[in-house]
């Protein structure tokens, strides 16, 4: 596939943005400036960016508890994201959702989710709507290796295949579900083997290679748009840090395991490629990092300066008040 240079650079920048965003989020959590649980995407950037670069802006994605990377890759605003993580009124969810429920429906990001495996049925619904309206949109459902064992995945995958809705299931196999390695929770080697249950194409790609992810998802998305139904793409990747935050010391992982994955870090990989192919100079690549860091600082500052929500707003947003006898009615 021929990817325009501009797009390649944008992919690089997005990956760097995710990396910087979440490295800082981990630190901010340790500093108690972010409350609750933050699941870091560090190490998995090639998946979100490879996937979302293969989508149109108007396409949909459903995300997971580990959702920062997805939202940034889909075009999310780091300032409003940090504001949400900081529990501020200016956050994506006015501080009501936090990291686990961050969402931006305006750019087709249908929400992080605190329930493992909740994404597939929602993605089924969004993709169904595209078929219903024949609007040419595709939905990507991100889910983890752990989520592949939830019944919700099974029901959604089977229905999606039955109705041939435009849906691409992207499994982020980062080798662990919380503190349990895949070998101890999955009776098969590759999650993509589950595609056969639904008569859909299943493929495993290197989730550290953003180009490979991009190309594979592009094919699946095209297929979906043609009305040929869903696909299952498994991206083998790695969670650099602990399940929550950077390192709370719960999980003793093999040092070599971590090192071998880090050696294939998707960001330097792409950077070398782009510099090697003359798409970017070293200096330009470095400028991207600098620019991103500045942007992150600004975003954190925005969050920090933002007001906390007014407790009086506690009961807002539970129901749509306008729904009783409004203009939406006949």
């Amino acid at each position: 596939m021929d990817i325009p240079n501009e797009k390649l650079i944008e992919m690089y920048e997005r990956m760097v943005l995710i990396r910087e965003f979440d490295e800082r989020a981990g630190i901010l959590m340790e500093q108690d400036r972010i409350a609750g649980a933050v699941h870091l995407y560090v190490g998995e950037e090639a998946v979100a960016v490879g996937v979302c670069s293969a989508l149109e802006d108007s396409d949909y994605i459903t995300s997971t508890h580990r959702g920062h990377g997805h939202l940034i890759a889909k075009g999310g605003d780091p300032a409003r994201m940090y504001a949400e993580l900081f529990g501020r009124a200016t956050g994506y969810c006015k501080g009501k959702g936090g990291s686990m429920h961050i969402a931006d429906l305006d750019i087709g990001m249908l929400g992080a989710n605190g329930i493992v495996g909740a994404g597939p049925p929602i993605a089924l619904g969004a993709a169904f709507a595209s078929k219903y309206r024949n609007d040419g949109k595709v939905c990507v459902c991100f889910f983890g290796d752990g989520a592949a064992n939830r019944g919700s995945f099974h029901e959604a995958a089977s229905m999606a295949a039955l109705y041939k809705v435009p849906l691409v299931f992207v499994c982020e196999n980062n080798q662990y579900g919380e503190f349990t390695p895949v070998a101890d929770h999955l009776p098969i080697k590759d999650v993509s083997e589950r595609a056969g249950s639904y008569n859909m194409p299943g493929v495993t790609v290197d989730g550290m290679d953003v180009i490979a992810v991009y190309e594979t998802v592009s094919i699946a998305a095209e297929r979906a748009r043609r009305g040929e139904g869903p696909s299952l793409i498994e991206c083998k990747t790695y969670r650099y840090y602990d399940h929550v935050g950077r390192d709370f010391g719960v999980l003793k992982r093999d040092k070599d395991e971590i090192a071998s994955w880090r050696a294939r870090d998707p960001i330097p990989q792409l950077r070398e490629k782009l510099v090697g192919e003359g798409v970017l100079t070293e200096a330009e690549a470095e400028a991207v990092v600098e620019r991103t860091r500045a942007r992150i600082e600004e975003a954190i500052q925005f969050a920090e300066d933002s007001p906390l929500p007014d407790p009086a707003a506690l009961l807002d947003d539970v129901y749509t008040e306008t729904s009783v006898y409004t203009e939406t009615r006949a």
């Binding site: 329930i115 049925p121 089924l124 619904g125 919700s152 947003d317 006949a330």
Partner: protein, 326 residues
């Protein structure tokens, strides 16, 4: 006005709304053949398979279909065949559908109606007979509707479909064949408004679903014994129209709360607690509650009849707090 069954009222409401708005679709198990209770009769023929979506046995998928499609702008009506099966898709209902708007800071709008069939009395045993409305009433973000007449059914269902919040719409199996006057044209019965089904002065009976029928019959019988019973049907259980209920009790000074669900921790507890909170000084006697005993629904008709709360229990509860008149 034409007389229609509750089943026909449901079909008509869905049909008229689907005609009005192409963003409404209906999905559920065996809706293609009209549903196992006939509540979808003819809709597949009329609107076709794209809008009347026959699903696999996948309750999680069905509610997911509703949530995801509503989040991007459709207006799904989905059917969970028996409310007993709601346990399967409780996560989708409670953690996704009910909370999405709030978690997203108000951004999502989910105009979903989940229609389901509730109640015992048809020898369907423990897993096909429950009344689980209390679960949903306890959950912020959904509304819960339980009609007792064909007229209310059509109006409440149309209002639910036009509502921009998720609604759980509970159709009582024993009521489906009940006939009553139902206007042909579409109309709304507003959510959150109780209805005084019968006026009276001695005691207020707050009854829901099938038990409204039992309560009205009990009222007739009590009338003969000189006791004047007011029967209030909340119709919407969440939000609950406490005002209408409390006003009635302020007038009568006595209340009996009645439902088919198991009495312990049932919706009657909330209604009784609310009455004594708001009308304590008006009460001449403790608020009584009538509900099913604390057991699963038994199969054998003789046991099931013993299980079902009915007219006799309502009369006994009234007589326990109303001084004898005759």
């Amino acid at each position: 006005m034409p007389k229609k069954s509750m089943t026909a009222a449901i079909v008509t409401a869905v049909s008229q709304e689907m005609e009005r708005d192409p963003s409404i679709f209906l999905a559920g198990e065996d809706v293609r053949v009209g549903g196992v209770f006939g509540t979808d009769a003819g809709l597949f023929q009329k609107f076709g398979g794209d809008r009347v979506v026959n699903t696999p046995i996948s309750e999680v998928g069905i509610v997911g279909l509703a949530v995801g499609s509503a989040a991007v702008g459709l207006r799904p009506i989905v059917e969970i065949m028996f409310s007993d099966f709601m346990g399967i898709c409780m996560d989708e209902i409670v953690n996704q559908m009910a909370k999405m708007k709030y978690m997203f800071g108000g951004k999502a709008t989910l105009p979903i109606v989940i229609r389901t069939h509730v109640g015992a009395g048809r020898s369907m045993a423990a897993q096909h007979s429950q009344s689980l409305e209390a679960w949903f009433c306890h959950i912020p973000g959904v509304k819960v509707v339980m009609p007792s007449t064909p007229y209310d059914t059509k109006g409440l269902l149309i209002a639910s479909i036009r509502e921009d919040n998720p609604v759980i719409f509970m159709e009582n199996k024993r009521l489906l064949a009940t006939r009553g006057e139902v206007p042909n044209e579409p109309y709304e019965v507003p959510l959150g408004v109780a209805d005084v089904k019968r006026e009276g002065t001695d005691v207020t009976v707050v009854a829901t679903g099938y038990l409204v029928k039992d309560a009205l019959e009990a009222a007739e019988e009590l009338e003969e014994r000189g006791v004047s019973v007011e029967v209030v049907d909340p119709r919407t259980l969440s939000p609950l129209d406490r005002d209408t209920i409390v006003q009635s009790v302020q007038k009568t000074g006595r209340a009996v709360v009645v439902h088919e669900a198991v009495r312990n921790y049932g919706i009657g507890a909330e209604i009784a607690a609310s009455i004594q909170e708001a009308a304590f000084d008006y009460l001449d006697a403790p608020v009584q509650r009538v509900g099913a005993p604390f057991s699963p629904v038994p199969f054998s008709p003789v046991l099931e009849q013993a299980w079902l709360p009915a007219k006799a229990e309502i009369i006994a509860a009234v007589e326990a707090i109303v001084p004898a008149r005759v």
